[in-house]
Symmetry: C2
Subunit: 326 residues, 2 copies
């Protein structure tokens, strides 16, 4: 029987780009799609941004394709990352030929820790004046991330990766993260370069070609991958994968883009590239490569949505991608 | 009697750029300089990166000019920020005509909270596997920062500023920060625009002209100002001021640059611009403007150090700045 893919459009342009990505998936394989709802709209109706039914659909599927949620983004995406048991968020940021970029040589993959750091979420209001948040770092989560990174780097034929931290200030927590990551890399015979989080921000702007695979704590991965998105020309082209041991969720990095939602002009590239990551994750490497190739070809010489200076709609771009699949 | 300025060269190029900045201060005013030591070198000799004597000299001075410290940077600069009672770190990041920049339109001032956040430094090793860090946010520190921001913006003739946070994830702590800052701005009749930390990273790369004065929690200010440094072409041109109620410390944002230290080719601009911030802080507005103008003029049409593609030394650039003071 076919693999089950949960599909959540969410809000805003999620409703436009997710159907586009589903069309592409349909064009290259046979999947059983299970649609589910999450986000602002379903909260307005039911009071819940992430209904239990949706959570269960995602947890039970082989993989999920998610669009975007509005105000409720954190209420939706953080539990969904848990639903798929995701321990790493894979965020490739690359510039494409033919697309304006601040730094056209950018081609970096961020491997973001996806369970802890400041996202572990223990906050307390200790007095009228004072609140605290408990940032959590474990050796086990850091090692699991590092083991994934080693396999990821080896699969690409690499022999090294960078590890970002701020252990000069967060000595105990980021020190633990750093030690765990570096020691797993050592065990795998891979080299690591340590880069302080602030220095990374400067260096990637000046010369992104210094970086290839970058392993980060949770918040650092959030901010630095969005920084890289700026360098490649915006969030419209960035896919991401939340990977767990036996489930995964794929989502464009962009949000709901309320300014253009409903107009049929949203750029579907990030969602389609997220679908390509889903294909690869399920073992359809050839299909994944075909989808990526088609997106690249359209970006270089096909119809474009307004965010890339064109006047084509989502459908035209999606159709062009499907036409160029080989 | 003359104002007392504590002077700490520190390590690496600190020993070259701080004397350059002192020469410039000497050329525009009369100060009583008190030299003191801090950093790797003094630790190697005495076991302490920040001798008590240095701490006291800084605490007792009217202002301090600091260069850079190597491995011991955090052990030096964090206590020195405390020594001057600094609650805000002022970090202007602007591109200069004639200097290559990734985004030549960048002209942003970061006002970074300088006492708490993850820098408050409560870390615990709770088990073999687990460490935590307690991130601290108080309304009082956030309000003090915001009050400074309001005055700062009003002095520039502005009527609004941006406030960065990540309150969609750090609801209680960054929510507190956000609420305090926005409410103080309201009281002063200033507008605020809220920008999520990750979105800020994307947006400033794409178009830095969207931002003017940006108020940030401590770590966000660290990382985002270094990001802006990348956009203006590197750390070599960025000054900073750690301001307290009745004391302050000024330092270039760059580090010790061990690769070029001792060669006499370090770019003194960031240190000299830090001296200009010191002058302004002590009320020498005319002198501060003259120094800034001279640095800009040299950057545009004077001798350049190798980091800016020239072959002049630190002395030649410093001499040119002094010549162009009017
Ligand atoms: C919506 C928000 C909670 C989320 C995050 O911070 O992880 C988003 O910024 C992202 O990066 O996917
Ligand atoms: C050296 C380090 C502790 C420091 C900081 O993180 O504040 C530095 O990066 C800075 O920004 O001045």
């Amino acid at each position: 029987s076919y693999e089950e893919v949960a599909v959540i459009e969410g809000d805003g342009i999620g409703r436009e780009v997710v159907p586009a990505a589903v069309e592409v998936l349909d064009a290259v394989g046979d999947f059983e799609f299970r649609t589910a709802r999450a986000g602002d709209a379903v909260r307005a109706e039911t009071g819940e941004a992430l209904p239990q039914e949706t959570y269960d659909t995602v947890a039970d599927a082989d993989a999920t394709l998610f669009g975007a949620a509005g105000e409720t983004a954190a209420d939706v995406i953080l539990p969904l990352r848990t639903a798929v048991g995701s321990f790493v968020n894979v965020r490739p940021a690359r510039a494409y030929p033919g697309v304006d970029a601040v730094q056209p040589e950018t081609d970096v993959v961020f491997l973001r820790e996806n369970t802890e750091g400041v996202y572990a979420g223990h906050e307390d209001r200790l007095s009228e004046d004072l609140s605290t948040l408990t940032r959590v770092v474990t050796t086990s989560a850091s090692e699991r991330l590092a083991a994934f990174a080693c396999e990821f780097v080896a699969d690409r034929g690499g022999d090294a990766f960078q590890v970002v931290h701020k252990s000069n200030v967060m000595r105990e927590t980021d020190g633990r993260f750093r030690d765990a990551v570096v020691s797993v890399a050592d065990d795998h015979g891979l080299d690591t370069e340590e880069v302080l989080m602030d220095a990374f921000a400067t260096r990637i702007c000046l010369d992104p070609t210094q970086f290839d695979v970058v392993v980060c704590p949770n918040l650092a991965g959030d901010v630095l991958s969005d920084l890289a998105a700026g360098l490649v020309g915006g969030l419209g082209l960035l896919p991401s994968a939340n990977i767990g041991p036996d489930n995964a969720l794929f989502e464009p990095v962009h949000g709901t883009a309320p300014d253009i939602a409903g107009e049929g002009v949203a750029n579907p590239s990030a969602a389609i590239l997220s679908a390509a990551m889903l294909l690869e994750h399920l073992g359809y490497d050839g299909e994944a490569a075909a989808v990526r190739g088609a997106v690249e070809s359209v970006l270089e010489s096909g119809p474009r949505t307004p965010d890339l200076g064109g006047d084509a709609g989502t459908d035209a771009v999606t159709g062009a991608v499907i036409d160029r699949l080989d």
